[in-house]
Amino acid sequence: MLTRAAPATRIFLQALTPSETHGFFVRSVNGPGVVNHSLTSVSHRLLNRRQIAIVATPASKQRAAIRFRGRSFLATVLAPELPLAEWLAELDKLSKRSEGYFASRPVILDVTGLAITKRDFAELIAMLYEREIKVMGVEGADPSWLGFGMPPSVSGGKQTEILHKPSAEPPKQQQSFADRAIPSLLIETPVRSGQSIIFPQGDVTVVGSVASGAEIIAGNSIHIYGTLRGRAIAGSTGNAGARIFCQKFEAELIAIDGLYQTADDLDASLRGRPIQAWLANDKMNMAALA
């Protein structure tokens, strides 16, 4: 199981509230640890925090585990147009109509294909800052523009509708548990090598196999009615109650709520069998299904 001599390695994404940071980082609580967050993908209209892999350096003494959590946020995307002066004037007009619209909103700046220089870009950021628009990430910018003190670069966003609710609307009544839909994603085709299914909203069910080199990341449980050869990462938003079920177990890696095990650590007797995996007391448990 996961209690090895080296401290248990956890993968999580820590979500920090946008107001706190205007961005998000991987926060390490203590101790050294190499954090590779190259997989972190954040996006344009939907910020989609992904599972990241971390490699913890073996330490001589026991340390508290580092947790990273994933969370998705909606962000407004501003895509400036040339000439910038005109665009800013338009923006001013717009924000006059609904005052305070940008006050508490995370904003992603989309400068894809915009023919501007590094100086123009810095000016643009300053102008937005003057208007109290907090840019938490930039999409499509030349990497050289984004030095220290600039918002981080983001990419790979998913488009989504932004709902403009009139603020006068009374707060909605809490739905009872029975009425609330439990989101679930059903995939009826095999998940191929190189594909990555990310569904932080809930369960993922795959009718077919998950190939070696493919990954499924779910906010809740993962169900695979086929062979699991790739990676399954359940409870990615910090849900320790999530489980992983599969018909035939050949996985490269499984993780629940950040606790992970790779193929090498797994009980060889479970290979090729239908199994489920769950967490109990921060330990990975696996058992064959009858």
């Binding site: 085709t189 095999p190 191929r192 090598s193 190189g194 594909q195 077919g208 196999s209 190939a211 070696s212 080199g213 062979t227 050869r229």
Partner: protein, 271 residues
Amino acid sequence: MSQVLVVTSGKGGVGKTTSTAAIGAALALSGQRVAVVDFDVGLRNLDLVMGAERRVVYDLINVVQGEAKLQQALIRDKRLDTLYVLPASQTRDKDALTEEGVTRVMEELRNHFDWVVCDSPAGIERGAMLAMRHADVAIVVTNPEVSSVRDSDRIIGMLDSKTVKAEKGEYMEKHLLLTRYDAARAERGQMLKVDDVLEILSIPLLGIIPESEAVLNASNVGCPVTLVDSDSAPARAYLDAARRLEGENIPMVVPSERRGFMSKLFGRRAA
């Protein structure tokens, strides 16, 4: 009704070009008009395997960029008059292919031929994307080894998402061609078995091409194996594969070399 067929794989060196030539020739043998198109710009091998390398004047890039007419670039095969080769350029760089140009050439080829067989470069880069983009049917060529199978899995995922057909929400017909298969070695566990490959990739099997000297001999003399040595085991496998591609129901067998009694006694080759 013309069909565009792409022969693709993730890994290089699995036998795409050989298979393109062999299947193109097998389809042309039944009297259908076939064009084999080399998309592997920068390397250019198909014309060599088809024995047309000395007759190349214009190539795919010239046609795509509008410098030559399609009729000028198409080379008619010396052996079969319904078989044509559209070669790739070795001198130009692989970014010379434009998306609009390729779309136009593929439309034109569709008007003239029953089958357009595209030989894709290996990998997942732009050249491979352009080759598969307009295909109606795909043949995924795989060797019975894990790296080849995994890369094929990736390619199947791209066929399901990056082709015109997939983008329109239509089903992309895909077939698996297992090449360089050695039944004896598979039995000894030295390579993946057919069932293992099929289980991993879960697409229908089009044919199993046995490992054979005939394939190498054919490409050295510059003639598709289905034409030069049509009674050899790989040639029979390719001919069966071509018939399955046209919807015929032929039982799947792994052809073996037909050898006489004496050669069986004395002709043992070193493994």
